[in-house]
Symmetry: C2
Subunit: 517 residues, 2 copies
């Protein structure tokens, strides 16, 4: 058995069932090996950032790593931005990066580069395979390194000759990293704080934004009056009618500080100390108010749900959590704006939808409009590297074929990885993509105002404007096989969204909205 | 004056007149500074790989660095693949990578990553700016580090607060790195070898594929019978009627070895020891034949033209170089194929055209069909990182506004950086893009055969096929503002190409051709 076959078989034996692939010559033996492992589903991507973003979406929804298949340093380079997002999300991902044959590496052929250095910037674990005899074990360890609390990006550098040489065998699965043991002290400390009645907020991150942790947090909040906040960019927030409502910390420093104003104790539950997204000339980087004490109940390395349960048990909580009531906004009519578009989405969001949110400024009204919609998942831009939405939606759709995916995408961000639409069409994914077409990098107009930078100069306008020429997303989507339409009224948006939710497969709606800034 | 203004002014004073930009929040002060420096032309790009590829194209055609403007680690990550190509091309590029404010870096905010590690993989020079008082000098040094023999990628990491803080001043230009001194010995050695009449080939790389080096090499060849070869992927090959003809070393190991068969002395002139593009299970990595002696006349760090002139003078050459005769192939008719498309291009290629060649397998007949066309430049995929063509064309068009640019692009490769078409439209660049639409990653079918890998399995077909659904490049191009048409016959291709060359501005022709493999 050659190395490539051992890799494919080991992946499957270790529970990896999907490979988002953009192969080159060094990966062809692995491609051939896939033929003998039809259970390992290979999904073609036309750009590596699509493959890595899709693996992130898949991992967020299943908790299991997908593999990616990338071609040497430049291929990994193209995938880095969405691996950065996956790293921030704590998503398990196993990258297979094909490399030159071991004997060829010293010749510094054109595609040679320092692929390890690239890999280390996004990976919690990196291994260069050197021998077909051990490549199976390498891959089993990679899957284990990726899986656990928190999930990590594990990168396997796979020289072509290790793939093509015989003498390999599959390796048995390696147990995933166990959660770090939870000590009694933080549980007792947090319980004591909550008993004081001092203004306290739980800041939820990692799996704390998911059931069952969320329910435990909801019971604690109901019993003690503590507030439930979550990180600005949760990897996966379960929300909607019937779940405890969680308030997301705002993106803007000013807003987040207002939310935290008056909090005396901030309890981190899988979240990190809240800091501003960017530094600002006059605003602080740390968001918690003067005098607020910050406590860590659990990190993403712990079993977060268990930690919250222990707190609830310590407090002998018997108050049920306050659950979000079912509610839909009124159906709007007239001009399509970010606000009316959000209301339409709030009206129509299907049960069990997976919402991928890269709407940026056009998404301002979305959380409010969808708060009482049927239960759904909300996936966000964890690492701030735009170009995540369309790929993430692909991975989420593959992970959950029976759930509708709604991909809410800003026009500027969409263009970074727009070829993901082809993968949507190729695989027939049930994804409704809404492009919020405001014709600008509107968030940078907003940030300019916040920074006191003139936003009316010609360079500013030239670099942040997307209307000369305008982007025709209907044409672009159709060019990649995705049915598409453009809407400019709330009524037409309602109609198109309804149709898309009713019909399987991918659809794109270009929602023309005014820029907010 | 704040740091951003000092950076902009220093760039201009140092001769950098163009900035291919994909800014984010940390770069907004620099964007504002551009308003006060209208001579520094800012070109918007919708993806960082477009910005870096355009800078490569600009640098290849002018010898001067363009700046890029990128957003933290993920922005640099997205630009890495084309910086890899620029590094291999020896192109001068100055990357400005905005970063978190110095005081904010320690908070590990979402966009934080090891940007230095990324930068080092592609850069010959990296500097993190720390103080507005010295940022001008940092940038002047970066331009000098980028410029010289050979050109290099220089990366400036520019924290937001260094940009927005006062106390900066522009720095005067720093002299470019001088060429390494040429020692007399290799000149004498090479001259002596050439006098023997032994079968000798000059392998040209770097600036040796350009005038005036090419003319000196041509005189040497004419006088001594030495053959003129050049590297497989020259950064910029000047060729066509009236120039010495140079044979490019083949991409495939088998072909390159056949070309070098019988050569007793291989003289490297700005080229590296020839090696195969990928390692192969049974073929050698080193291409020069058994018993062939390899000599280095000059490296890319030397003044290559001067080295060749010295050899010519030592030999007292008075034979004029054999120059390529003007010749056009017959105009083909009937089915459009890679072969007939090449002939059409050979018939129509305009004087002084800049050809950007990422046609991959569909480009097989291009060198032959255009050998006798009017003088032109041929830019190739130096680092093997596909997704180069459309961006490179943008930079070449900006560098040479009076010259037509012909961008020959494979369908698969085009999709990596397809948003470059928007920049073509935005700037009105005179670029004719031909998409060779063969509906597959055909080169991987070819490589599968060479590697003895089965190419008929379902995974293989699924991952290398681009027809389910097909890509409609006419729709995609129109969606980004580029007029486009699809052709399936040689006659229609001729007609469309003629029209595109006659009409200023960007055009795209989707040339439907059968896959070769």
């Amino acid at each position: 058995m050659n190395g490539a076959h051992a890799v494919a078989r080991t992946l499957l034996d270790s529970g990896v069932e999907v490979c988002f692939a953009n192969p080159g010559t060094s990966e062809l033996h692995f491609v051939a090996a896939l033929d003998d492992e039809p259970a390992l589903r290979a999904v073609p991507c036309l750009f590596e950032g699509v493959a890595t973003g899709a693996a992130d979406g898949y991992g967020r929804m299943t908790g299991l790593p997908a593999a990616t298949l990338l071609h040497l340093g430049p291929g990994l380079g193209n995938g880095l931005a969405n691996l950065h997002n996956a790293r921030r999300a704590g998503t398990p991902v196993v990258n297979l990066v094909g490399d030159h044959a071991t004997f060829h590496k010293k010749y510094d052929a054109p595609l040679e580069s320092d692929v390890e250095a690239l890999a280390r910037t996004v990976s919690g674990w990196v291994r260069r395979c050197v021998d077909p005899a051990t490549v199976g074990a390498d891959v089993a360890e990679a899957v284990a390194a990726a899986t656990g609390a928190p999930g990590r990006v594990a990168t396997v550098l796979l020289p072509a000759d290790v793939s093509w040489s015989d003498g390999a065998r599959p390796a048995p699965p390696v147990p995933a990293r166990p959660s770090a043991a939870l000590s009694a002290k933080p549980v007792a400390t947090v319980a004591a704080i909550l008993r004081t009645g001092d203004p306290t907020a739980l800041l939820l991150g990692g799996t704390a934004t998911r059931e069952p942790a969320l329910s435990a947090a909801g019971r604690i909040a109901a019993a003690t009056g503590a507030r439930l906040l979550c990180e600005t960019f949760p990897a996966r927030l379960e929300r909607g009618a019937g779940l405890p409502a969680v308030e997301r910390l705002g993106y803007l420093t000013e807003g987040a500080m207002a939310q935290l104003d008056g909090v005396r104790h901030l309890v981190l539950v899988g979240a990190r100390v809240p800091v501003s997204f960017f530094g600002h000339p006059t605003l602080p980087s740390e968001l918690s108010p003067e005098g607020c004490r910050v406590h860590t109940l659990a990190t993403t390395a712990n079993d977060i749900a268990a930690a919250l349960d222990e707190v609830a048990n310590t407090l002998a909580v018997d108050t049920p959590a306050v659950l979000q009531a079912a509610a839909r906004p009124p159906l709007p009519t007239g001009e399509l704006t970010a606000e009316t578009a959000a209301a339409v989405i709030g009206v129509l969001l299907p049960e069990e939808a997976i919402v991928v949110d890269e709407a940026n400024t056009s998404g301002l009204w979305l959380p409010g409009a969808t708060a009482g919609a049927p239960r759904h998942d909300w996936l966000t831009l964890t690492g701030g590297a735009i170009g995540q939405g369309l790929p993430l939606a692909a991975g989420a759709a593959l992970a959950c074929p029976d759930r509708p995916v709604l991909c809410l995408e800003a026009d500027g961000s969409a263009m970074y990885t727009v070829s993901a639409l082809w993968t949507h069409a190729r695989e027939g994914f049930d994804i409704t993509t809404v492009i919020f077409a405001n014709g600008s990098y509107s968030i940078l107009d907003m940030e300019s105002h916040r920074l006191g930078v003139p936003a009316d100069g010609s360079a500013h306008r030239d670099l942040l404007n997307l209307t000369r020429p305008g982007l025709d997303f209907v044409a672009i989507a159709r060019g990649m096989g995705v049915p598409a339409s453009r809407v400019t009224t709330a009524e037409d948006f309602t109609d198109r969204l309804r149709r898309s939710f009713a019909e399987p497969g991918p659809h794109l709606v270009e929602a023309v909205v005014p820029a907010l800034f």
